[in-house]
Symmetry: C2
DNA sequence: TTATTATATAGGAATTATTCTTATTTGTCA
DNA sequence: TGACAAATAAGAATAATTCCTATATAATAA
Protein backbone atom coordinates (compact mmCIF):
# COMPACT_ATOMS: atom_id res chain seq x y z
CA UNK A 1 0.00 0.00 0.00
CA UNK A 2 1.46 3.30 -1.11
CA UNK A 3 1.27 6.17 1.39
CA UNK A 4 3.25 9.18 2.61
CA UNK A 5 6.03 9.17 5.19
CA UNK A 6 6.04 11.91 7.82
CA UNK A 7 8.32 14.04 5.77
CA UNK A 8 6.29 13.88 2.59
CA UNK A 9 3.18 14.51 4.66
CA UNK A 10 4.60 17.70 6.16
CA UNK A 11 5.68 18.80 2.74
CA UNK A 12 2.26 18.15 1.19
CA UNK A 13 0.59 20.26 3.85
CA UNK A 14 2.92 23.23 3.84
CA UNK A 15 3.05 23.25 0.05
CA UNK A 16 -0.63 24.17 0.15
CA UNK A 17 -0.42 26.59 3.07
CA UNK A 18 -1.85 24.19 5.63
CA UNK A 19 -0.24 24.34 9.06
CA UNK A 20 1.56 21.23 10.20
CA UNK A 21 -0.12 20.48 13.52
CA UNK A 22 0.37 17.54 15.88
CA UNK A 23 -3.30 16.76 15.38
CA UNK A 24 -2.97 16.45 11.61
CA UNK A 25 0.17 14.35 11.89
CA UNK A 26 -1.55 12.03 14.36
CA UNK A 27 -4.72 11.85 12.31
CA UNK A 28 -2.86 10.73 9.21
CA UNK A 29 -0.98 8.19 11.29
CA UNK A 30 -4.22 6.93 12.79
CA UNK A 31 -5.78 6.58 9.36
CA UNK A 32 -2.87 4.37 8.35
CA UNK A 33 -2.94 2.32 11.52
CA UNK A 34 -6.70 1.86 11.44
CA UNK A 35 -6.28 -0.25 8.31
CA UNK A 36 -8.78 -0.79 5.54
CA UNK A 37 -11.25 1.98 4.84
CA UNK A 38 -12.23 3.44 8.20
CA UNK A 39 -15.01 5.91 8.87
CA UNK A 40 -14.31 9.26 10.53
CA UNK A 41 -15.59 7.78 13.77
CA UNK A 42 -13.10 4.92 13.53
CA UNK A 43 -10.21 7.24 12.77
CA UNK A 44 -11.32 9.37 15.70
CA UNK A 45 -11.17 6.34 17.99
CA UNK A 46 -7.66 5.55 16.80
CA UNK A 47 -6.35 9.12 17.15
CA UNK A 48 -7.79 9.36 20.64
CA UNK A 49 -5.38 6.68 21.80
CA UNK A 50 -2.52 9.05 20.87
CA UNK A 51 -4.09 12.46 21.49
CA UNK A 52 -6.84 11.92 24.04
CA UNK A 53 -8.19 15.45 23.73
CA UNK A 54 -8.53 15.75 19.99
CA UNK A 55 -12.07 16.65 18.95
CA UNK A 56 -14.17 14.76 16.48
CA UNK A 57 -14.59 17.85 14.36
CA UNK A 58 -10.84 18.29 14.05
CA UNK A 59 -10.50 14.72 12.85
CA UNK A 60 -13.30 15.13 10.39
CA UNK A 61 -11.95 18.40 9.01
CA UNK A 62 -8.45 17.03 8.72
CA UNK A 63 -9.68 14.05 6.73
CA UNK A 64 -11.56 16.35 4.38
CA UNK A 65 -8.47 18.54 4.02
CA UNK A 66 -6.31 15.54 3.20
CA UNK A 67 -8.83 14.60 0.56
CA UNK A 68 -8.63 18.07 -0.97
CA UNK A 69 -4.86 17.79 -1.00
CA UNK A 70 -5.28 14.55 -2.88
CA UNK A 71 -3.19 12.59 -0.38
CA UNK A 72 -6.08 10.33 0.61
CA UNK A 73 -9.38 9.46 -1.03
CA UNK A 74 -12.90 9.04 0.23
CA UNK A 75 -15.75 6.68 -0.61
CA UNK A 76 -19.33 7.05 0.42
CA UNK A 77 -20.79 3.75 1.51
CA UNK A 78 -23.56 2.79 3.85
CA UNK A 79 -24.47 6.40 4.43
CA UNK A 80 -21.11 7.53 5.65
CA UNK A 81 -17.75 8.55 4.33
CA UNK A 82 -14.91 6.02 4.37
CA UNK A 83 -11.35 7.19 4.07
CA UNK A 84 -8.57 5.54 2.12
CA UNK A 85 -4.87 6.42 2.48
CA UNK A 86 -3.80 4.07 -0.30
CA UNK A 87 -2.32 6.19 -3.07
CA UNK A 88 -1.71 3.29 -5.42
CA UNK A 89 -4.26 3.12 -8.21
CA UNK A 90 -6.75 0.44 -7.24
CA UNK A 91 -10.39 -0.56 -7.20
CA UNK A 92 -12.92 -1.82 -4.69
CA UNK A 93 -15.26 -4.62 -3.78
CA UNK A 94 -18.13 -3.29 -1.68
CA UNK A 95 -20.34 -5.63 0.31
CA UNK A 96 -23.93 -4.35 0.35
CA UNK A 97 -24.67 -6.24 3.56
CA UNK A 98 -21.84 -5.30 5.93
CA UNK A 99 -20.41 -2.42 3.89
CA UNK A 100 -16.92 -3.86 4.03
CA UNK A 101 -14.69 -2.42 1.34
CA UNK A 102 -11.84 -4.47 -0.07
CA UNK A 103 -9.11 -3.41 -2.48
CA UNK A 104 -8.21 -5.11 -5.67
CA UNK A 105 -5.78 -4.30 -8.45
CA UNK A 106 -6.37 -4.66 -12.15
CA UNK A 107 -3.89 -3.50 -14.77
CA UNK A 108 -6.59 -4.27 -17.33
CA UNK A 109 -8.96 -1.78 -15.72
CA UNK A 110 -6.26 0.80 -15.20
CA UNK A 111 -5.49 0.85 -18.90
CA UNK A 112 -9.06 1.42 -20.05
CA UNK A 113 -9.56 4.75 -21.76
CA UNK A 114 -12.76 6.73 -21.59
CA UNK A 115 -14.86 6.86 -24.74
CA UNK A 116 -13.89 10.33 -26.01
CA UNK A 117 -17.41 11.73 -26.22
CA UNK A 118 -17.95 10.76 -22.58
CA UNK A 119 -15.75 13.23 -20.83
CA UNK A 120 -16.43 16.20 -23.15
CA UNK A 121 -14.87 18.97 -21.12
CA UNK A 122 -14.86 16.87 -17.97
CA UNK A 123 -11.59 17.18 -16.07
CA UNK A 124 -10.82 13.68 -14.80
CA UNK A 125 -9.27 13.36 -11.36
CA UNK A 126 -9.70 9.66 -10.77
CA UNK A 127 -11.32 6.56 -12.21
CA UNK A 128 -12.29 3.68 -10.05
CA UNK A 129 -14.32 0.59 -10.46
CA UNK A 130 -16.68 -0.33 -7.67
CA UNK A 131 -17.86 -3.90 -7.58
CA UNK A 132 -20.98 -4.28 -5.50
CA UNK A 133 -22.11 -7.58 -4.12
CA UNK A 134 -22.07 -9.84 -1.09
CA UNK A 135 -18.81 -10.74 0.61
CA UNK A 136 -18.00 -14.31 1.49
CA UNK A 137 -18.49 -13.73 5.22
CA UNK A 138 -21.99 -12.39 4.64
CA UNK A 139 -22.89 -15.20 2.23
CA UNK A 140 -21.71 -17.67 4.86
CA UNK A 141 -24.03 -16.20 7.50
CA UNK A 142 -27.05 -16.71 5.25
CA UNK A 143 -26.12 -20.25 4.35
CA UNK A 144 -26.94 -21.28 7.91
CA UNK A 145 -30.32 -19.52 8.08
CA UNK A 146 -31.92 -19.41 4.64
CA UNK A 147 -30.08 -21.78 2.40
CA UNK A 148 -28.46 -20.40 -0.81
CA UNK B 1 -32.40 4.58 -21.31
CA UNK B 2 -33.76 1.16 -20.40
CA UNK B 3 -36.52 1.11 -17.80
CA UNK B 4 -39.74 -0.73 -16.94
CA UNK B 5 -43.19 -0.07 -18.35
CA UNK B 6 -46.14 -0.05 -15.95
CA UNK B 7 -46.87 -3.64 -16.63
CA UNK B 8 -43.35 -4.89 -15.98
CA UNK B 9 -43.23 -2.71 -12.89
CA UNK B 10 -46.38 -4.29 -11.44
CA UNK B 11 -45.03 -7.70 -12.25
CA UNK B 12 -41.67 -6.99 -10.59
CA UNK B 13 -43.38 -5.93 -7.40
CA UNK B 14 -45.93 -8.71 -7.10
CA UNK B 15 -43.31 -11.30 -8.03
CA UNK B 16 -41.60 -10.44 -4.77
CA UNK B 17 -44.70 -10.08 -2.66
CA UNK B 18 -44.78 -6.29 -2.67
CA UNK B 19 -48.19 -4.71 -2.95
CA UNK B 20 -48.86 -2.66 -6.04
CA UNK B 21 -49.95 0.69 -4.60
CA UNK B 22 -50.74 3.95 -6.38
CA UNK B 23 -47.90 5.53 -4.40
CA UNK B 24 -45.31 3.06 -5.68
CA UNK B 25 -46.51 3.39 -9.24
CA UNK B 26 -46.35 7.18 -9.04
CA UNK B 27 -42.95 7.13 -7.34
CA UNK B 28 -41.44 5.05 -10.09
CA UNK B 29 -43.00 7.34 -12.67
CA UNK B 30 -41.65 10.40 -10.87
CA UNK B 31 -38.19 8.92 -10.74
CA UNK B 32 -38.31 8.51 -14.51
CA UNK B 33 -39.71 11.97 -15.14
CA UNK B 34 -37.27 13.65 -12.77
CA UNK B 35 -34.48 12.71 -15.17
CA UNK B 36 -30.84 12.17 -14.35
CA UNK B 37 -29.98 10.88 -10.89
CA UNK B 38 -32.35 12.60 -8.50
CA UNK B 39 -32.16 12.55 -4.72
CA UNK B 40 -35.06 11.27 -2.62
CA UNK B 41 -36.02 14.88 -1.98
CA UNK B 42 -36.18 15.57 -5.71
CA UNK B 43 -38.27 12.48 -6.40
CA UNK B 44 -40.53 13.53 -3.53
CA UNK B 45 -41.03 16.92 -5.15
CA UNK B 46 -41.93 15.27 -8.45
CA UNK B 47 -44.36 12.75 -6.93
CA UNK B 48 -46.09 15.49 -4.98
CA UNK B 49 -47.26 17.01 -8.23
CA UNK B 50 -49.22 13.81 -8.87
CA UNK B 51 -50.08 12.67 -5.35
CA UNK B 52 -50.05 15.78 -3.18
CA UNK B 53 -50.44 13.84 0.06
CA UNK B 54 -47.71 11.27 -0.34
CA UNK B 55 -45.25 11.37 2.55
CA UNK B 56 -41.52 11.71 2.23
CA UNK B 57 -41.00 8.49 4.13
CA UNK B 58 -43.15 6.57 1.68
CA UNK B 59 -41.09 7.89 -1.20
CA UNK B 60 -37.86 7.05 0.52
CA UNK B 61 -38.95 3.54 1.44
CA UNK B 62 -40.29 2.88 -2.03
CA UNK B 63 -36.98 3.90 -3.58
CA UNK B 64 -35.12 1.58 -1.23
CA UNK B 65 -37.53 -1.24 -2.04
CA UNK B 66 -37.05 -0.72 -5.76
CA UNK B 67 -33.33 -0.94 -5.17
CA UNK B 68 -33.73 -4.23 -3.35
CA UNK B 69 -35.81 -5.53 -6.23
CA UNK B 70 -32.95 -4.56 -8.51
CA UNK B 71 -35.18 -2.44 -10.74
CA UNK B 72 -33.29 0.77 -9.95
CA UNK B 73 -29.85 1.50 -8.51
CA UNK B 74 -28.43 3.92 -5.97
CA UNK B 75 -25.29 5.98 -5.79
CA UNK B 76 -24.08 7.86 -2.77
CA UNK B 77 -22.71 11.23 -3.69
CA UNK B 78 -22.36 14.48 -1.85
CA UNK B 79 -23.66 12.93 1.35
CA UNK B 80 -26.94 11.71 -0.02
CA UNK B 81 -28.38 8.88 -2.02
CA UNK B 82 -29.08 9.40 -5.69
CA UNK B 83 -31.42 7.10 -7.53
CA UNK B 84 -31.01 5.78 -11.05
CA UNK B 85 -33.79 4.04 -13.02
CA UNK B 86 -31.54 3.24 -15.97
CA UNK B 87 -31.29 -0.52 -16.20
CA UNK B 88 -28.84 -0.51 -19.10
CA UNK B 89 -25.29 -1.31 -18.02
CA UNK B 90 -23.47 2.00 -17.81
CA UNK B 91 -20.96 4.07 -15.87
CA UNK B 92 -20.76 7.54 -14.36
CA UNK B 93 -18.95 10.83 -14.37
CA UNK B 94 -19.27 12.49 -10.99
CA UNK B 95 -18.46 16.17 -10.52
CA UNK B 96 -16.87 16.79 -7.14
CA UNK B 97 -18.00 20.41 -7.14
CA UNK B 98 -21.70 20.30 -8.01
CA UNK B 99 -22.22 16.55 -7.56
CA UNK B 100 -23.80 16.23 -10.96
CA UNK B 101 -23.77 12.65 -12.17
CA UNK B 102 -23.65 11.88 -15.88
CA UNK B 103 -23.96 8.55 -17.63
CA UNK B 104 -21.55 7.13 -20.12
CA UNK B 105 -21.33 3.83 -21.91
CA UNK B 106 -18.23 1.80 -22.56
CA UNK B 107 -18.29 -1.65 -24.13
CA UNK B 108 -14.59 -1.85 -23.31
CA UNK B 109 -15.29 -1.42 -19.59
CA UNK B 110 -18.24 -3.76 -19.67
CA UNK B 111 -16.11 -6.55 -21.03
CA UNK B 112 -13.40 -6.31 -18.36
CA UNK B 113 -13.19 -9.38 -16.16
CA UNK B 114 -12.21 -9.27 -12.50
CA UNK B 115 -8.79 -10.65 -11.62
CA UNK B 116 -9.79 -14.06 -10.25
CA UNK B 117 -8.09 -13.69 -6.87
CA UNK B 118 -10.02 -10.42 -6.34
CA UNK B 119 -13.50 -11.70 -5.86
CA UNK B 120 -12.58 -14.85 -3.90
CA UNK B 121 -16.01 -15.88 -2.68
CA UNK B 122 -17.44 -12.45 -3.45
CA UNK B 123 -20.83 -12.64 -5.11
CA UNK B 124 -20.85 -9.88 -7.73
CA UNK B 125 -24.09 -7.99 -8.28
CA UNK B 126 -22.81 -5.08 -10.31
CA UNK B 127 -19.64 -3.45 -11.56
CA UNK B 128 -19.50 0.22 -12.31
CA UNK B 129 -16.80 2.68 -13.03
CA UNK B 130 -17.03 6.05 -11.37
CA UNK B 131 -15.00 8.83 -12.89
CA UNK B 132 -14.48 11.66 -10.46
CA UNK B 133 -13.52 15.13 -11.55
CA UNK B 134 -14.82 18.56 -12.43
CA UNK B 135 -17.59 19.01 -14.97
CA UNK B 136 -17.30 21.56 -17.75
CA UNK B 137 -19.88 23.88 -16.18
CA UNK B 138 -17.92 24.00 -12.91
CA UNK B 139 -14.59 24.52 -14.69
CA UNK B 140 -16.18 27.38 -16.60
CA UNK B 141 -17.25 29.11 -13.37
CA UNK B 142 -13.68 29.11 -12.09
CA UNK B 143 -12.21 30.40 -15.30
CA UNK B 144 -13.86 33.73 -14.60
CA UNK B 145 -12.66 34.05 -11.01
CA UNK B 146 -9.32 32.30 -10.58
CA UNK B 147 -7.91 31.63 -13.98
CA UNK B 148 -7.06 28.03 -14.93
C1' DT C 1 13.90 35.19 20.47
C1' DT C 2 9.71 37.70 20.35
C1' DA C 3 5.68 39.82 18.43
C1' DT C 4 2.22 39.36 14.98
C1' DT C 5 -1.40 37.24 12.85
C1' DA C 6 -3.82 34.02 10.06
C1' DT C 7 -5.19 29.30 10.99
C1' DA C 8 -6.49 25.62 13.67
C1' DT C 9 -8.57 23.54 17.66
C1' DA C 10 -12.01 22.01 21.39
C1' DG C 11 -16.42 21.79 22.72
C1' DG C 12 -20.80 21.99 21.92
C1' DA C 13 -24.80 23.41 19.12
C1' DA C 14 -27.10 23.15 14.72
C1' DT C 15 -28.28 21.07 10.46
C1' DT C 16 -29.30 17.49 7.12
C1' DA C 17 -30.26 12.93 5.58
C1' DT C 18 -32.16 8.84 7.00
C1' DT C 19 -34.82 5.75 9.88
C1' DC C 20 -38.27 4.70 13.25
C1' DT C 21 -42.97 4.74 15.67
C1' DT C 22 -47.81 4.52 15.75
C1' DA C 23 -52.44 4.85 14.43
C1' DT C 24 -54.95 4.17 10.30
C1' DT C 25 -55.78 2.58 5.63
C1' DT C 26 -55.55 -0.54 1.77
C1' DG C 27 -54.13 -4.39 -1.50
C1' DT C 28 -54.45 -9.24 -1.87
C1' DC C 29 -56.31 -13.55 -1.56
C1' DA C 30 -59.58 -17.00 -0.02
C1' DT D 1 -67.09 -9.97 0.74
C1' DG D 2 -63.97 -10.44 4.88
C1' DA D 3 -59.66 -11.15 7.07
C1' DC D 4 -55.27 -9.58 7.61
C1' DA D 5 -50.49 -8.71 6.43
C1' DA D 6 -48.44 -4.98 4.46
C1' DA D 7 -48.32 -0.06 3.39
C1' DT D 8 -49.11 4.74 4.40
C1' DA D 9 -49.05 9.56 6.66
C1' DA D 10 -47.33 12.30 10.07
C1' DG D 11 -44.24 13.38 12.98
C1' DA D 12 -40.49 12.07 16.22
C1' DA D 13 -35.94 10.18 16.68
C1' DT D 14 -31.33 9.13 15.22
C1' DA D 15 -26.86 9.41 12.91
C1' DA D 16 -23.64 11.81 10.11
C1' DT D 17 -21.92 16.05 9.02
C1' DT D 18 -21.23 20.95 9.45
C1' DC D 19 -21.20 25.23 11.91
C1' DC D 20 -20.13 28.54 15.82
C1' DT D 21 -17.15 30.84 18.96
C1' DA D 22 -13.69 31.57 22.29
C1' DT D 23 -9.02 30.20 22.85
C1' DA D 24 -4.60 28.39 21.35
C1' DT D 25 -0.84 27.82 18.17
C1' DA D 26 2.22 27.39 13.85
C1' DA D 27 4.42 30.28 10.70
C1' DT D 28 6.68 34.40 9.64
C1' DA D 29 9.22 38.50 10.11
C1' DA D 30 11.79 41.69 12.89
MN1 LIG E 1 -8.87 1.23 -1.11
MN1 LIG F 1 -26.87 6.45 -14.43
ZN1 LIG G 1 -20.29 -8.49 3.94
ZN1 LIG H 1 -19.94 20.41 -11.67
Amino acid sequence: MQSLDNNALRKAMSARGLKVTPQRMAIYGALLSAGGHPSAEEVFGAVRRVLPNVSFDTVYRALLSFTELGIISVHEAGGKKRFDPNLAGHHHLHCMRCNRITDFHSPELDSVKLPPQAGKGFQVLSMRMTVEGICSACSAKNRGRNGR
